[in-house]
Symmetry: C2
Subunit: 448 residues, 2 copies
Amino acid sequence: MKAVILAAGKGERLSKGKSKLNAKPKPLIPLLGLSLLERAILSAKESGIYDFVIVVGYRSEEVVKYVEEKQNRLGLNIDFVENEEWEKGNGLSVLKARETLKEEDFVLLMCDHVFDSSILKELLEYAKNRERKCVLCVDEPENVFDLEDATKILLERNKPNAIGKGIKNYNAVDCGIFYCTAEMLDALEAEIGKGKYELSDAVQCLIDCDKLEVFDIGGRRFWCDIDTQESLEYAKNKMLKSLEKPTDGIISKCINRKISKRITARIVNTNLTPTQITIISFIMALASAAFFLLGEHKYLVIGGILAQASSIIDGCDGEVARLKFLTTDYGAFVDSILDRYADGIMILGLIFGYWMLHGGISVWIIGLFALIGSFMISYTNARYEGVFERPGGGRGIPIRRDMRVFMIMIGAFLNQVLVMLLLLAILTNLEVVRRVFSIKRIITKTKF
Amino acid sequence: MKAVILAAGKGERLSKGKSKLNAKPKPLIPLLGLSLLERAILSAKESGIYDFVIVVGYRSEEVVKYVEEKQNRLGLNIDFVENEEWEKGNGLSVLKARETLKEEDFVLLMCDHVFDSSILKELLEYAKNRERKCVLCVDEPENVFDLEDATKILLERNKPNAIGKGIKNYNAVDCGIFYCTAEMLDALEAEIGKGKYELSDAVQCLIDCDKLEVFDIGGRRFWCDIDTQESLEYAKNKMLKSLEKPTDGIISKCINRKISKRITARIVNTNLTPTQITIISFIMALASAAFFLLGEHKYLVIGGILAQASSIIDGCDGEVARLKFLTTDYGAFVDSILDRYADGIMILGLIFGYWMLHGGISVWIIGLFALIGSFMISYTNARYEGVFERPGGGRGIPIRRDMRVFMIMIGAFLNQVLVMLLLLAILTNLEVVRRVFSIKRIITKTKF
């Protein structure tokens, strides 16, 4: 399956107020660390598309050069087609790709539409059983940021009836994500012959001869048409918001994620890789353990701050990875291993620091149980692949890593290391006992 | 799908030399904690069969009473059919079940054939696509314990040609596991009308009119026809041997499994449940930790023996569960949790005992790293669901639980707790580092 990406437009409204030298062509405008065009390519790649036709027009040389520089790293087949008459309308741009498409079905994307890649996955799945009809993704009008500028659609009994920017009577909006058969190209050819250069002209033509279906995403997924600085800002905020996970713990939800999102929004523009961020967070945890070792209250405070900061940064690696399409199972694995070592070494630092000042063996024994309990929370979770971190896995004691590090910080601030370790030992191990009993119910439910 | 189990025979050769009072009817003869009939029922249950017709004959009241007592616990639908003329031949026993079968396909099993339940699973899968033909499981003659007594088959180009105990020319053996259509019952009726009462008469009839296929298990799975004390003993040894896992570690293979198999062969005849065995093993680990706490060499030796004994018993719970069809995900989960706590508490005992005698803080720090490393071995394994315990997961340092507990015992015997903990800390954490690097290769392999 090939994807045709339209990247011929100028994006005038986006570069308003900027000189031509400063203003980038629309496909190259950055959004959270990736250009719009790169984002469209990578979203398609996540849906299993590895062959691309990019239609360029306005400042085409710059766009082609930009993509060619990244092509090796992307590992994709990318052809370019130039549409010198790009100002006439986007329908013409699609038709220019005809020769490279060889009458096969293809996916049509706009470089200025950002979208959650699961939309495309679902569309491809849906189109599979549609017997060679074109399918257009639509959404509810209330989910659109700039409704005035959107291409509207009138659905009647879920069948499209009319399409156009100007139509008054509508109940859906075009998301700019198409599954096309060669009939789309035929329709374009016919319409362009009549002097109608817009894609929506050809789409209306397909509607008229009952060759178009719609796939309604019904507000379930994020997508946004980027035409103005405001819509760019809107998309950015929505995408940052989407980094929050339903499985986030209390501290993560109320503190860590709020801060890490802001940090991520900045470091996403640097070359820092998720693995480098993982390592930075780990080093911060080691540094916090070093301050804990010193034992005195003032050092404990610094250590506590470092521990909590490390826990916050620990969220950024995944966030950057998700925003830049860099998530890997291996990254998640290494992150979880380093988290466990960080947990262990921070607790060791606390124990040792306390023992240096106060002596006594109780801190060692209590600390060891706190360590066992912390590990067991992660271990039970790994054994049941996150079942305990899902809302369905029972409420339980919220003593996941976000809370444990937060408790360590509070304990350090209050100079109450022993009490804090005791609490940690009790809460973590209690939660493990709860999990052992609750998982029986969950397993039984799954089986029958 | 119903299963018909033939349980009408007397089993004369099995009860040779016993008075009638002592000799049990064949279906009730015990093999590793379960009667032959119970074993046949549970093997079929594991393949997803929940409806049974049991044909009883010799001492039928005893057999029915025995099954009815267990029926509630088994959670199965079991009908009984009596064949008073059981001495005539086993074909008649099958035909007696006709009324309850309602012309549907069924599975036919002999209570005196024990078999690995995956044979039945594979047969059902195979028969699915066979367009209403009867299918008979066959095996190679060399895999049969008592070839003289076996029902032989001559295959020509994988199609059956002749069947019978007495045939001279044969290249396969009947395993006594059938997938039957109603045509089997028609054939039986016809043959019995001619005075031929054996199942193999009807099977020959099906062969003659090309209505029988064979499913060749080719020595891949265990099955055995139990007719004599010798074959019972043979089956027992084979089944105990099958408890060894390809994933067993070195110590497990060379020491633990050898002993645990023998213990299992005994406790399988008691009412001890796998969970109870898990708990006994855990208590032994706690007891070993208590001796370690005392620190002196003589106590260390006792603790070391207890630790190793606990590790051996820890194998028995799974063995008993597998032999008695009692394996559950939950059981495996609880076992793994208690193992981790046992690890932690044994190491704590060793640290504390050593510190009481020699003082110094180094044992605490080293012990803590040994604890972290031990956990991390289990944690990395849980994260990748056993990939590191499979032969494919790379060789690595053999520092799984069997080896760790063995090292603890040797360390205790030699009164070298500190050296042993240091070794444990180094080896476990080194192996974790190796895993982090090796998993990248494994993940990449899986993906492409």
